[in-house]
Amino acid sequence: MSGPHDSPAIETRSLTKHYGSRLALDGLTLRVERGSVFGFLGANGAGKTTAIRILLALARATSGSARLLGHAPGSTEVRPLIGYCPDVPGFPSWMTAREVLEQAATLFQLPQSTVRRRVPELLELTGLADTRARVGGYSRGMRQRLGLAQALINSPQLLILDEPTSALDPMGRRAALELITELKGKTTVFFSTHLLPDVERVCDDVAILSNGRVAAEGALRDVRARLGGSRSRLVVETDEPERLREALRAATRVGAGSGWVLDVAEDAPGSRALVVTVDDVEDGAARVAAVVSSLGCRLFQLEPRAASLEDVFVDLVEGAR
Protein backbone atom coordinates (compact mmCIF):
# COMPACT_ATOMS: atom_id res chain seq x y z
CA MET A 1 0.00 0.00 0.00
CA SER A 2 1.39 3.42 -0.88
CA GLY A 3 1.74 6.04 1.87
CA PRO A 4 1.59 9.81 1.64
CA HIS A 5 5.33 10.01 0.89
CA ASP A 6 5.25 7.96 -2.31
CA SER A 7 1.85 9.07 -3.51
CA PRO A 8 1.58 11.45 -6.48
CA ALA A 9 1.57 15.19 -5.85
CA ILE A 10 -1.97 15.45 -7.20
CA GLU A 11 -4.40 12.69 -8.02
CA THR A 12 -8.03 13.19 -8.98
CA ARG A 13 -10.54 10.57 -9.95
CA SER A 14 -13.73 11.27 -11.86
CA LEU A 15 -14.04 14.73 -10.38
CA THR A 16 -17.29 16.42 -11.33
CA LYS A 17 -18.67 19.79 -10.40
CA HIS A 18 -22.11 21.13 -11.20
CA TYR A 19 -23.17 24.76 -10.82
CA GLY A 20 -26.89 24.34 -11.07
CA SER A 21 -27.47 22.82 -14.48
CA ARG A 22 -24.03 23.79 -15.77
CA LEU A 23 -21.37 21.11 -15.72
CA ALA A 24 -18.03 22.76 -14.92
CA LEU A 25 -16.01 19.55 -14.44
CA ASP A 26 -16.97 16.35 -16.17
CA GLY A 27 -15.11 13.40 -14.65
CA LEU A 28 -11.67 14.97 -14.34
CA THR A 29 -9.05 12.28 -13.79
CA LEU A 30 -5.52 13.56 -13.37
CA ARG A 31 -2.19 12.41 -12.00
CA VAL A 32 0.69 14.77 -11.34
CA GLU A 33 3.98 13.20 -10.32
CA ARG A 34 6.12 14.72 -7.60
CA GLY A 35 8.88 17.06 -8.70
CA SER A 36 7.38 17.79 -12.10
CA VAL A 37 6.31 21.09 -13.58
CA PHE A 38 2.81 20.41 -14.81
CA GLY A 39 0.96 22.66 -17.22
CA PHE A 40 -2.79 22.65 -16.84
CA LEU A 41 -4.14 24.06 -20.07
CA GLY A 42 -7.55 25.01 -21.22
CA ALA A 43 -9.53 27.74 -22.87
CA ASN A 44 -11.44 30.24 -20.74
CA GLY A 45 -14.25 28.43 -18.95
CA ALA A 46 -12.73 24.98 -19.49
CA GLY A 47 -12.79 24.29 -15.76
CA LYS A 48 -9.18 24.97 -14.75
CA THR A 49 -9.93 27.34 -11.89
CA THR A 50 -12.82 25.18 -10.68
CA ALA A 51 -10.48 22.18 -10.48
CA ILE A 52 -7.89 24.22 -8.59
CA ARG A 53 -10.50 25.50 -6.14
CA ILE A 54 -11.56 21.93 -5.41
CA LEU A 55 -7.94 20.89 -4.89
CA LEU A 56 -7.57 23.72 -2.37
CA ALA A 57 -10.88 22.93 -0.62
CA LEU A 58 -12.23 26.34 -1.56
CA ALA A 59 -15.03 24.53 -3.40
CA ARG A 60 -16.56 21.07 -3.06
CA ALA A 61 -16.73 18.50 -5.83
CA THR A 62 -20.17 17.22 -6.73
CA SER A 63 -18.65 13.74 -7.03
CA GLY A 64 -15.26 12.08 -7.41
CA SER A 65 -12.19 12.31 -5.25
CA ALA A 66 -8.95 14.26 -5.02
CA ARG A 67 -5.73 13.76 -3.07
CA LEU A 68 -2.82 16.14 -2.66
CA LEU A 69 0.49 14.62 -1.56
CA GLY A 70 -1.57 11.67 -0.34
CA HIS A 71 -3.91 13.79 1.79
CA ALA A 72 -7.45 15.07 1.43
CA PRO A 73 -7.77 18.64 0.10
CA GLY A 74 -7.93 21.17 2.91
CA SER A 75 -6.74 18.70 5.56
CA THR A 76 -4.50 19.93 8.37
CA GLU A 77 -1.75 17.65 7.04
CA VAL A 78 -1.68 19.12 3.54
CA ARG A 79 -2.10 22.84 4.22
CA PRO A 80 1.45 23.43 5.48
CA LEU A 81 2.82 21.64 2.42
CA ILE A 82 1.26 23.73 -0.33
CA GLY A 83 1.62 27.19 -1.76
CA TYR A 84 -1.04 28.87 -3.86
CA CYS A 85 -1.19 31.94 -6.04
CA PRO A 86 -4.42 32.85 -7.82
CA ASP A 87 -4.44 34.91 -11.01
CA VAL A 88 -5.48 38.06 -9.15
CA PRO A 89 -4.34 37.61 -5.54
CA GLY A 90 -6.28 39.48 -2.85
CA PHE A 91 -4.42 41.10 0.02
CA PRO A 92 -5.53 43.46 2.77
CA SER A 93 -5.05 46.83 1.09
CA TRP A 94 -3.54 48.44 4.20
CA MET A 95 -0.58 46.06 4.34
CA THR A 96 2.83 46.44 2.74
CA ALA A 97 4.41 43.58 0.80
CA ARG A 98 6.68 42.81 3.73
CA GLU A 99 3.73 42.63 6.10
CA VAL A 100 1.86 40.31 3.74
CA LEU A 101 4.80 37.90 3.75
CA GLU A 102 5.29 38.16 7.52
CA GLN A 103 1.59 37.50 8.05
CA ALA A 104 1.74 34.44 5.79
CA ALA A 105 4.81 33.20 7.65
CA THR A 106 2.94 33.58 10.94
CA LEU A 107 0.10 31.39 9.67
CA PHE A 108 2.65 28.71 8.77
CA GLN A 109 4.25 29.17 12.22
CA LEU A 110 7.68 29.60 10.69
CA PRO A 111 10.51 30.32 13.14
CA GLN A 112 11.52 33.96 13.41
CA SER A 113 15.01 33.21 12.06
CA THR A 114 13.45 31.72 8.92
CA VAL A 115 11.10 34.69 8.53
CA ARG A 116 13.99 37.15 8.84
CA ARG A 117 15.90 35.33 6.09
CA ARG A 118 13.07 34.31 3.79
CA VAL A 119 11.02 37.53 3.60
CA PRO A 120 13.82 39.74 2.18
CA GLU A 121 14.86 36.90 -0.14
CA LEU A 122 11.39 36.61 -1.63
CA LEU A 123 10.92 40.37 -1.88
CA GLU A 124 14.20 40.56 -3.76
CA LEU A 125 13.31 37.61 -5.97
CA THR A 126 9.99 39.14 -7.01
CA GLY A 127 11.33 42.67 -7.46
CA LEU A 128 9.37 44.16 -4.55
CA ALA A 129 12.26 44.81 -2.17
CA ASP A 130 12.28 48.56 -2.77
CA THR A 131 8.51 49.01 -2.58
CA ARG A 132 7.26 50.62 0.60
CA ALA A 133 3.75 51.35 -0.69
CA ARG A 134 0.66 49.67 0.63
CA VAL A 135 -0.71 46.79 -1.40
CA GLY A 136 -3.89 48.78 -2.13
CA GLY A 137 -1.88 50.91 -4.55
CA TYR A 138 -0.30 47.99 -6.41
CA SER A 139 -0.81 47.26 -10.10
CA ARG A 140 -2.14 43.85 -11.08
CA GLY A 141 1.35 42.75 -12.07
CA MET A 142 2.79 43.75 -8.69
CA ARG A 143 0.00 41.87 -6.95
CA GLN A 144 0.81 38.81 -9.00
CA ARG A 145 4.48 39.04 -8.06
CA LEU A 146 3.56 39.39 -4.40
CA GLY A 147 1.19 36.45 -4.86
CA LEU A 148 4.09 34.35 -6.07
CA ALA A 149 6.24 35.47 -3.14
CA GLN A 150 3.65 34.58 -0.51
CA ALA A 151 3.04 31.22 -2.19
CA LEU A 152 6.73 30.41 -1.68
CA ILE A 153 7.06 31.60 1.93
CA ASN A 154 6.74 28.08 3.37
CA SER A 155 9.00 26.43 0.77
CA PRO A 156 6.04 24.32 -0.34
CA GLN A 157 6.24 20.76 -1.62
CA LEU A 158 3.42 21.56 -4.02
CA LEU A 159 3.00 24.95 -5.65
CA ILE A 160 -0.37 25.60 -7.27
CA LEU A 161 -0.46 28.61 -9.58
CA ASP A 162 -3.57 29.78 -11.38
CA GLU A 163 -2.47 31.71 -14.47
CA PRO A 164 0.54 33.15 -12.62
CA THR A 165 1.97 35.17 -15.49
CA SER A 166 -1.22 36.59 -16.99
CA ALA A 167 -0.65 40.11 -15.67
CA LEU A 168 3.14 40.25 -15.77
CA ASP A 169 5.20 42.38 -18.12
CA PRO A 170 7.81 40.56 -20.25
CA MET A 171 10.53 40.97 -17.61
CA GLY A 172 8.28 39.81 -14.80
CA ARG A 173 7.08 36.91 -16.88
CA ARG A 174 10.61 35.82 -17.67
CA ALA A 175 11.58 36.05 -14.00
CA ALA A 176 8.54 34.01 -12.96
CA LEU A 177 9.27 31.31 -15.53
CA GLU A 178 12.92 31.19 -14.49
CA LEU A 179 11.79 30.83 -10.90
CA ILE A 180 9.53 27.92 -11.84
CA THR A 181 12.37 26.31 -13.77
CA GLU A 182 14.62 26.61 -10.73
CA LEU A 183 12.01 24.85 -8.61
CA LYS A 184 11.95 21.86 -10.95
CA GLY A 185 12.86 18.65 -9.14
CA LYS A 186 12.53 20.26 -5.69
CA THR A 187 8.91 21.36 -5.73
CA THR A 188 5.99 20.11 -7.75
CA VAL A 189 4.61 23.03 -9.73
CA PHE A 190 1.06 22.77 -11.02
CA PHE A 191 0.08 25.77 -13.03
CA SER A 192 -2.91 26.60 -15.10
CA THR A 193 -2.55 28.86 -18.06
CA HIS A 194 -3.62 29.54 -21.59
CA LEU A 195 -0.27 31.10 -22.44
CA LEU A 196 1.14 28.22 -24.42
CA PRO A 197 4.69 29.59 -24.87
CA ASP A 198 5.02 29.54 -21.06
CA VAL A 199 4.10 25.88 -20.99
CA GLU A 200 6.46 24.96 -23.82
CA ARG A 201 9.22 26.75 -21.97
CA VAL A 202 8.99 25.23 -18.50
CA CYS A 203 6.65 22.23 -18.37
CA ASP A 204 7.52 18.56 -18.26
CA ASP A 205 3.96 17.32 -18.43
CA VAL A 206 0.68 18.81 -19.54
CA ALA A 207 -3.02 18.16 -19.43
CA ILE A 208 -5.34 19.94 -21.81
CA LEU A 209 -8.75 20.53 -20.38
CA SER A 210 -11.73 20.96 -22.64
CA ASN A 211 -15.33 21.24 -21.48
CA GLY A 212 -14.43 20.06 -18.00
CA ARG A 213 -12.59 16.91 -19.00
CA VAL A 214 -9.01 16.01 -19.88
CA ALA A 215 -8.71 15.95 -23.66
CA ALA A 216 -4.99 15.13 -23.65
CA GLU A 217 -2.46 14.34 -20.96
CA GLY A 218 1.15 13.24 -20.75
CA ALA A 219 4.70 14.39 -21.29
CA LEU A 220 4.76 17.57 -23.35
CA ARG A 221 6.81 15.98 -26.15
CA ASP A 222 4.51 12.94 -26.28
CA VAL A 223 1.38 15.05 -26.43
CA ARG A 224 2.79 17.09 -29.30
CA ALA A 225 3.92 13.99 -31.18
CA ARG A 226 0.75 12.03 -30.52
CA LEU A 227 -1.78 14.71 -31.21
CA GLY A 228 -0.03 17.07 -33.56
CA GLY A 229 -0.45 14.74 -36.55
CA SER A 230 -3.70 16.18 -37.76
CA ARG A 231 -1.83 19.26 -38.93
CA SER A 232 1.20 18.85 -41.17
CA ARG A 233 3.30 21.88 -41.72
CA LEU A 234 6.13 22.61 -44.08
CA VAL A 235 8.65 25.40 -43.91
CA VAL A 236 9.48 26.68 -47.39
CA GLU A 237 12.15 29.28 -48.02
CA THR A 238 12.60 30.72 -51.53
CA ASP A 239 13.93 33.90 -53.11
CA GLU A 240 10.38 34.98 -54.10
CA PRO A 241 8.10 34.34 -51.16
CA GLU A 242 5.31 36.65 -52.36
CA ARG A 243 4.87 34.86 -55.70
CA LEU A 244 4.98 31.50 -53.97
CA ARG A 245 2.44 32.64 -51.40
CA GLU A 246 0.04 33.71 -54.15
CA ALA A 247 0.46 30.43 -55.98
CA LEU A 248 -0.08 28.37 -52.83
CA ARG A 249 -3.09 30.42 -51.81
CA ALA A 250 -4.64 29.59 -55.15
CA ALA A 251 -4.32 25.95 -54.14
CA THR A 252 -6.41 26.56 -51.01
CA ARG A 253 -9.42 27.84 -52.97
CA VAL A 254 -12.19 25.43 -53.73
CA GLY A 255 -12.35 24.76 -57.46
CA ALA A 256 -9.03 26.44 -58.12
CA GLY A 257 -7.00 23.34 -57.43
CA SER A 258 -7.05 20.20 -55.40
CA GLY A 259 -7.40 22.11 -52.05
CA TRP A 260 -4.36 20.32 -50.59
CA VAL A 261 -3.03 23.54 -48.96
CA LEU A 262 -4.86 24.38 -45.75
CA ASP A 263 -3.04 27.58 -44.82
CA VAL A 264 -0.08 29.76 -45.79
CA ALA A 265 1.59 32.11 -43.34
CA GLU A 266 4.83 33.99 -42.90
CA ASP A 267 7.20 32.14 -40.59
CA ALA A 268 8.28 35.40 -38.95
CA PRO A 269 7.77 39.05 -39.87
CA GLY A 270 10.15 39.96 -42.72
CA SER A 271 11.26 36.36 -43.19
CA ARG A 272 11.55 34.73 -46.64
CA ALA A 273 10.26 31.51 -45.16
CA LEU A 274 6.61 30.52 -45.36
CA VAL A 275 4.83 28.01 -43.16
CA VAL A 276 2.48 25.95 -45.31
CA THR A 277 -0.10 23.76 -43.63
CA VAL A 278 -1.01 20.85 -45.87
CA ASP A 279 -3.36 17.87 -45.60
CA ASP A 280 -0.53 15.35 -46.08
CA VAL A 281 3.09 16.18 -45.38
CA GLU A 282 4.77 13.91 -47.97
CA ASP A 283 2.38 14.64 -50.77
CA GLY A 284 2.39 18.30 -49.82
CA ALA A 285 6.19 18.52 -49.92
CA ALA A 286 6.25 17.11 -53.43
CA ARG A 287 3.52 19.50 -54.60
CA VAL A 288 5.19 22.55 -53.00
CA ALA A 289 8.47 21.60 -54.73
CA ALA A 290 6.59 21.37 -58.02
CA VAL A 291 5.00 24.78 -57.52
CA VAL A 292 8.38 26.32 -56.69
CA SER A 293 9.84 24.76 -59.80
CA SER A 294 6.96 25.93 -61.99
CA LEU A 295 7.47 29.49 -60.74
CA GLY A 296 11.18 29.30 -61.49
CA CYS A 297 12.09 30.32 -57.93
CA ARG A 298 15.24 29.27 -56.10
CA LEU A 299 14.47 26.88 -53.23
CA PHE A 300 16.59 27.31 -50.11
CA GLN A 301 14.67 25.21 -47.62
CA LEU A 302 11.78 22.75 -47.65
CA GLU A 303 11.25 20.68 -44.51
CA PRO A 304 8.45 19.55 -42.22
CA ARG A 305 7.92 21.37 -38.95
CA ALA A 306 6.78 19.57 -35.82
CA ALA A 307 3.36 20.49 -34.50
CA SER A 308 3.40 23.09 -31.75
CA LEU A 309 1.48 22.81 -28.53
CA GLU A 310 -0.72 25.55 -29.91
CA ASP A 311 -1.67 23.32 -32.86
CA VAL A 312 -2.55 20.51 -30.48
CA PHE A 313 -4.45 22.86 -28.20
CA VAL A 314 -6.44 24.48 -31.00
CA ASP A 315 -7.24 21.11 -32.58
CA LEU A 316 -8.45 19.65 -29.30
CA VAL A 317 -10.41 22.63 -28.13
CA GLU A 318 -12.00 23.37 -31.50
CA GLY A 319 -12.68 19.68 -32.02
CA ALA A 320 -14.62 19.58 -28.78
CA ARG A 321 -16.82 22.51 -29.80
Binding site: A59, W94, L107
Partner: protein
Amino acid sequence: MNAMLPLLRLRAREVVRTWRVWVLPVVLVFLAASGPVIARFTNEILAGALGGGELTALALPEPTAADAAARWITDLSQLAVFVVVIMAAGAINTEVRSGVASLLLVKPASRSAYVVSHAVVLVGFVAVAAFVGALVSWGVTRVVFGGAGGDGVGASNLGAMLGATGLWVVLAMVLITVSLLASATFDAMAAAAGVGVGAFFLLAVAGAAPRLAEFTPAGLLPAAVAVASGTPTEGFATWWPVGTGLGASLVLVVVAVAVFRRRELR
Protein backbone atom coordinates in the same frame (compact mmCIF):
# COMPACT_ATOMS: atom_id res chain seq x y z
CA MET B 1 -9.16 26.36 15.90
CA ASN B 2 -6.03 26.73 13.83
CA ALA B 3 -4.24 30.08 13.70
CA MET B 4 -6.63 31.85 16.08
CA LEU B 5 -3.91 34.07 17.56
CA PRO B 6 -2.40 35.19 14.23
CA LEU B 7 -5.88 35.94 12.92
CA LEU B 8 -6.78 37.92 16.04
CA ARG B 9 -3.58 39.94 15.60
CA LEU B 10 -4.40 40.49 11.93
CA ARG B 11 -7.91 41.74 12.75
CA ALA B 12 -6.65 44.00 15.53
CA ARG B 13 -4.05 45.51 13.21
CA GLU B 14 -6.71 45.95 10.56
CA VAL B 15 -8.82 47.98 12.97
CA VAL B 16 -5.87 50.14 13.94
CA ARG B 17 -4.59 50.65 10.38
CA THR B 18 -7.85 51.41 8.56
CA TRP B 19 -10.84 53.76 8.72
CA ARG B 20 -12.36 51.65 11.48
CA VAL B 21 -10.08 53.10 14.15
CA TRP B 22 -11.36 56.60 13.40
CA VAL B 23 -14.98 56.29 12.41
CA LEU B 24 -16.57 54.59 15.41
CA PRO B 25 -14.50 56.32 18.15
CA VAL B 26 -14.97 59.71 16.50
CA VAL B 27 -18.72 59.18 16.23
CA LEU B 28 -18.96 57.98 19.83
CA VAL B 29 -16.76 60.68 21.32
CA PHE B 30 -18.66 63.34 19.39
CA LEU B 31 -21.97 62.00 20.67
CA ALA B 32 -20.55 61.63 24.18
CA ALA B 33 -19.25 65.19 24.23
CA SER B 34 -22.19 66.87 22.56
CA GLY B 35 -25.00 64.93 24.29
CA PRO B 36 -24.66 66.48 27.77
CA VAL B 37 -24.26 69.98 26.29
CA ILE B 38 -27.41 69.57 24.19
CA ALA B 39 -29.26 68.13 27.19
CA ARG B 40 -28.15 70.99 29.44
CA PHE B 41 -29.15 73.73 27.01
CA THR B 42 -32.24 72.16 25.47
CA ASN B 43 -34.55 74.71 27.06
CA GLU B 44 -32.40 77.62 25.94
CA ILE B 45 -32.17 76.22 22.42
CA LEU B 46 -35.94 75.80 22.27
CA ALA B 47 -36.47 79.26 23.72
CA GLY B 48 -34.29 80.73 21.00
CA ALA B 49 -36.15 78.82 18.34
CA LEU B 50 -39.72 79.22 19.58
CA GLY B 51 -39.66 82.43 21.56
CA GLY B 52 -39.97 82.73 25.34
CA GLY B 53 -43.78 82.80 25.52
CA GLU B 54 -44.33 79.59 23.65
CA LEU B 55 -41.69 77.83 25.74
CA THR B 56 -43.42 78.88 28.96
CA ALA B 57 -46.60 77.36 27.59
CA LEU B 58 -44.76 74.07 27.04
CA ALA B 59 -43.57 74.03 30.67
CA LEU B 60 -40.44 71.98 30.08
CA PRO B 61 -38.76 70.52 33.18
CA GLU B 62 -35.31 71.66 34.19
CA PRO B 63 -32.70 69.36 32.51
CA THR B 64 -30.72 67.03 34.76
CA ALA B 65 -27.62 64.89 34.52
CA ALA B 66 -29.96 61.92 34.21
CA ASP B 67 -31.27 63.39 30.95
CA ALA B 68 -27.71 63.60 29.65
CA ALA B 69 -27.04 59.98 30.60
CA ALA B 70 -30.26 58.77 28.96
CA ARG B 71 -29.36 60.78 25.89
CA TRP B 72 -26.00 58.97 25.71
CA ILE B 73 -27.74 55.59 25.48
CA THR B 74 -30.27 56.95 22.97
CA ASP B 75 -27.42 58.32 20.83
CA LEU B 76 -25.64 54.97 21.02
CA SER B 77 -28.80 53.32 19.79
CA GLN B 78 -29.11 55.49 16.72
CA LEU B 79 -26.09 56.49 14.65
CA ALA B 80 -23.62 54.23 16.48
CA VAL B 81 -25.73 51.15 15.83
CA PHE B 82 -25.57 51.75 12.08
CA VAL B 83 -21.80 52.18 12.15
CA VAL B 84 -21.43 48.92 14.11
CA VAL B 85 -23.76 47.02 11.77
CA ILE B 86 -21.97 48.29 8.65
CA MET B 87 -18.57 47.29 10.04
CA ALA B 88 -19.74 43.75 10.76
CA ALA B 89 -21.82 43.40 7.60
CA GLY B 90 -18.78 43.92 5.38
CA ALA B 91 -16.29 41.96 7.43
CA ILE B 92 -16.51 38.55 5.73
CA ASN B 93 -18.13 39.05 2.33
CA THR B 94 -15.76 41.88 1.38
CA GLU B 95 -12.78 39.61 1.99
CA VAL B 96 -14.45 36.76 0.12
CA ARG B 97 -15.12 38.96 -2.91
CA SER B 98 -11.60 40.39 -2.97
CA GLY B 99 -9.90 37.00 -2.62
CA VAL B 100 -8.31 37.87 0.74
CA ALA B 101 -10.26 35.12 2.49
CA SER B 102 -9.26 32.36 0.08
CA LEU B 103 -5.59 33.29 0.27
CA LEU B 104 -5.73 33.11 4.08
CA LEU B 105 -7.78 29.93 4.21
CA VAL B 106 -5.61 27.78 1.95
CA LYS B 107 -2.94 28.27 4.60
CA PRO B 108 -3.11 26.56 8.00
CA ALA B 109 -5.99 28.74 9.23
CA SER B 110 -9.40 27.26 9.92
CA ARG B 111 -12.66 28.79 8.80
CA SER B 112 -13.91 28.65 12.40
CA ALA B 113 -10.98 30.75 13.59
CA TYR B 114 -11.55 33.11 10.67
CA VAL B 115 -15.16 33.86 11.69
CA VAL B 116 -14.55 33.87 15.45
CA SER B 117 -11.57 36.23 15.13
CA HIS B 118 -13.77 38.70 13.26
CA ALA B 119 -16.43 38.49 15.99
CA VAL B 120 -14.02 38.80 18.92
CA VAL B 121 -12.14 41.80 17.56
CA LEU B 122 -15.28 43.63 16.44
CA VAL B 123 -17.00 43.15 19.79
CA GLY B 124 -13.83 44.11 21.66
CA PHE B 125 -13.32 47.22 19.57
CA VAL B 126 -16.93 48.34 19.90
CA ALA B 127 -16.83 47.70 23.65
CA VAL B 128 -13.64 49.73 24.15
CA ALA B 129 -14.98 52.59 22.01
CA ALA B 130 -18.32 52.56 23.85
CA PHE B 131 -16.75 52.60 27.31
CA VAL B 132 -14.36 55.39 26.32
CA GLY B 133 -17.40 57.26 25.04
CA ALA B 134 -19.18 56.61 28.35
CA LEU B 135 -16.24 58.07 30.27
CA VAL B 136 -16.19 61.12 28.03
CA SER B 137 -19.95 61.55 28.41
CA TRP B 138 -19.71 61.24 32.20
CA GLY B 139 -16.86 63.76 32.34
CA VAL B 140 -18.65 66.28 30.13
CA THR B 141 -21.86 65.78 32.14
CA ARG B 142 -20.03 66.62 35.36
CA VAL B 143 -18.49 69.73 33.79
CA VAL B 144 -21.73 70.96 32.21
CA PHE B 145 -24.06 70.18 35.09
CA GLY B 146 -21.64 70.52 37.95
CA GLY B 147 -23.33 69.37 41.11
CA ALA B 148 -26.71 70.60 39.94
CA GLY B 149 -29.33 68.14 38.82
CA GLY B 150 -27.27 65.14 39.71
CA ASP B 151 -27.96 64.60 43.38
CA GLY B 152 -29.38 61.19 44.09
CA VAL B 153 -29.73 60.41 40.44
CA GLY B 154 -28.10 57.23 39.15
CA ALA B 155 -27.11 58.82 35.89
CA SER B 156 -24.62 61.07 37.56
CA ASN B 157 -23.04 57.99 38.94
CA LEU B 158 -20.16 56.64 36.86
CA GLY B 159 -21.05 53.06 37.76
CA ALA B 160 -24.56 53.46 36.40
CA MET B 161 -23.24 55.05 33.23
CA LEU B 162 -20.81 52.21 32.65
CA GLY B 163 -23.50 49.65 33.53
CA ALA B 164 -25.89 51.14 30.99
CA THR B 165 -23.11 51.19 28.39
CA GLY B 166 -22.36 47.55 29.22
CA LEU B 167 -25.98 46.65 28.48
CA TRP B 168 -25.71 48.47 25.16
CA VAL B 169 -22.50 46.58 24.38
CA VAL B 170 -24.39 43.29 24.83
CA LEU B 171 -26.99 44.61 22.38
CA ALA B 172 -24.18 45.60 19.98
CA MET B 173 -22.78 42.08 20.37
CA VAL B 174 -26.08 40.61 19.23
CA LEU B 175 -26.20 42.96 16.25
CA ILE B 176 -22.56 42.27 15.34
CA THR B 177 -23.10 38.51 15.34
CA VAL B 178 -26.35 38.83 13.33
CA SER B 179 -24.51 40.99 10.79
CA LEU B 180 -21.53 38.62 10.70
CA LEU B 181 -23.85 35.70 10.03
CA ALA B 182 -25.41 37.70 7.20
CA SER B 183 -21.93 38.63 5.96
CA ALA B 184 -20.97 34.94 5.89
CA THR B 185 -24.18 34.16 4.00
CA PHE B 186 -24.59 36.94 1.45
CA ASP B 187 -22.09 38.25 -1.08
CA ALA B 188 -23.50 41.76 -0.99
CA MET B 189 -22.57 43.95 1.96
CA ALA B 190 -25.80 45.93 1.54
CA ALA B 191 -27.86 42.77 1.99
CA ALA B 192 -25.94 41.86 5.15
CA ALA B 193 -26.27 45.40 6.51
CA GLY B 194 -30.00 45.25 5.78
CA VAL B 195 -30.27 42.13 7.90
CA GLY B 196 -28.36 43.80 10.75
CA VAL B 197 -30.46 46.96 10.67
CA GLY B 198 -33.62 44.85 10.37
CA ALA B 199 -32.60 42.89 13.45
CA PHE B 200 -32.11 46.15 15.37
CA PHE B 201 -35.57 47.44 14.45
CA LEU B 202 -37.07 44.07 15.31
CA LEU B 203 -35.44 44.18 18.75
CA ALA B 204 -36.52 47.80 19.24
CA VAL B 205 -40.13 46.94 18.41
CA ALA B 206 -40.05 43.78 20.49
CA GLY B 207 -38.66 45.84 23.38
CA ALA B 208 -42.03 47.52 23.69
CA ALA B 209 -43.69 44.18 24.46
CA PRO B 210 -43.42 43.59 28.23
CA ARG B 211 -42.78 39.84 28.24
CA LEU B 212 -40.31 39.99 25.38
CA ALA B 213 -38.46 42.88 26.96
CA GLU B 214 -38.21 40.99 30.23
CA PHE B 215 -36.76 37.75 28.94
CA THR B 216 -35.04 38.39 25.59
CA PRO B 217 -32.32 40.64 24.14
CA ALA B 218 -35.14 42.97 23.14
CA GLY B 219 -35.06 44.17 26.75
CA LEU B 220 -31.44 45.35 26.56
CA LEU B 221 -32.19 48.80 25.19
CA PRO B 222 -35.01 49.65 27.63
CA ALA B 223 -32.86 48.30 30.44
CA ALA B 224 -29.88 50.42 29.38
CA VAL B 225 -32.03 53.58 29.25
CA ALA B 226 -33.53 52.75 32.63
CA VAL B 227 -30.14 52.14 34.25
CA ALA B 228 -28.67 55.30 32.74
CA SER B 229 -31.55 57.50 33.85
CA GLY B 230 -31.65 55.87 37.28
CA THR B 231 -35.20 54.63 36.95
CA PRO B 232 -34.99 50.83 36.83
CA THR B 233 -38.31 49.21 35.99
CA GLU B 234 -39.85 47.52 39.00
CA GLY B 235 -39.36 43.78 38.94
CA PHE B 236 -37.24 44.05 35.83
CA ALA B 237 -34.30 41.63 36.04
CA THR B 238 -31.58 42.79 33.64
CA TRP B 239 -29.78 39.47 33.80
CA TRP B 240 -32.45 37.82 31.63
CA PRO B 241 -31.89 40.10 28.60
CA VAL B 242 -28.14 39.97 29.25
CA GLY B 243 -28.09 36.18 29.52
CA THR B 244 -30.26 35.61 26.46
CA GLY B 245 -28.31 38.29 24.56
CA LEU B 246 -25.00 36.58 25.28
CA GLY B 247 -26.51 33.20 24.50
CA ALA B 248 -27.99 34.43 21.23
CA SER B 249 -24.61 35.93 20.24
CA LEU B 250 -22.90 32.62 20.92
CA VAL B 251 -25.47 30.71 18.87
CA LEU B 252 -25.21 33.22 16.04
CA VAL B 253 -21.42 32.85 15.91
CA VAL B 254 -21.76 29.05 15.83
CA VAL B 255 -24.28 29.31 13.00
CA ALA B 256 -22.05 31.80 11.15
CA VAL B 257 -19.14 29.34 11.44
CA ALA B 258 -21.33 26.49 10.15
CA VAL B 259 -22.56 28.58 7.22
CA PHE B 260 -19.06 29.79 6.36
CA ARG B 261 -17.58 26.29 6.53
CA ARG B 262 -20.02 25.20 3.85
CA ARG B 263 -19.50 28.25 1.69
CA GLU B 264 -17.51 28.00 -1.52
CA LEU B 265 -14.85 30.66 -1.88
CA ARG B 266 -13.42 32.37 -4.94
